[in-house]
Subunit: 149 residues, 2 copies
């Protein structure tokens, strides 16, 4: 849908300004879609993201700074996020023996099987993404990367 209708604004100063608003709005829209998608599994989008990051390195553990550097929103607090996941039994954390400053984090079997369950629900969500063709998606990726410099 045209951005103008979504936020009921009929004009923008210029195409670049509209673009900034459009990215923010679409980001928020996607975030909300994801929040709904993960809600039945009782995790938030950022928690899901961290689980995926850990699955990506499994069975090798990651330390907290590694997790942070791969997160979408760097400013969210990895310590507390991981603690939430630990309370749910989805990750384990251990103080590293060779460097006792760092904390190794690893996804548990329970965490892995939760991700597997969520994977199965990804189809509907992907359908929405398929409003764009593969070429469109590629072009969008190119433009966003270019924007960020």
């Amino acid at each position: 849908m045209a951005l103008e209708d979504d936020i009921r604004q009929d004009k923008f100063e210029n195409e670049h300004h509209k673009m900034a608003v459009n990215i923010l709005f679409t980001g928020s829209w996607l975030h909300n879609l994801n929040a709904l998608r993960f809600k039945p599994f009782e995790i938030t989008p950022e928690q899901y993201n961290v689980l995926r990051i850990l699955r990506g390195s499994h069975p090798k553990p990651l330390m907290l700074t590694e997790v942070t550097s791969r997160m979408l929103d760097k400013s969210s607090n990895a310590t507390r996020l991981v603690e939430k996941l630990r309370q749910k039994g989805l990750v384990k954390r251990e103080i590293c023996e060779t460097n006792r400053r760092q904390v190794d984090i690893i996804i548990t079997d329970k965490g892995l099987s939760l991700l597997t369950k969520i994977d199965k629900t990804t189809d509907d969500w992907m359908k929405t993404m398929k409003n764009l063709s593969r070429q469109d998606a590629q072009e969008l990726n190119r433009l966003l990367d270019k924007l960020r410099g």
Copy 2:
């Protein structure tokens, strides 16, 4: 910069998945840029957004639901957001005489002059946006609108 470097992930399942992550990441990136930009003026991005919405209708007031329907993030709480702005003297609110359910909100002179000050700092920010040409921006807008259906 390539998304792969920004979040240190070397591959995605497919172009559509990468696209979703890219939009979320770029949205968060832009949001943080804005937060920095508005910080010297002691307002948040959503507060700025509401002020702009009110300037758009000035001198006609808007009721709360109108403000909400134009906001980027519909789920943030307009009542409390407007109350923050009122405490700073940037908006006025009056219970509508003809329909006492609704609250009329209007930007004050102080609010308008704050926006004027912020407008003047928009150049730097626009420079970042100009990593994309006008055609690029147009194409990006088209793709985002198409994605949201």
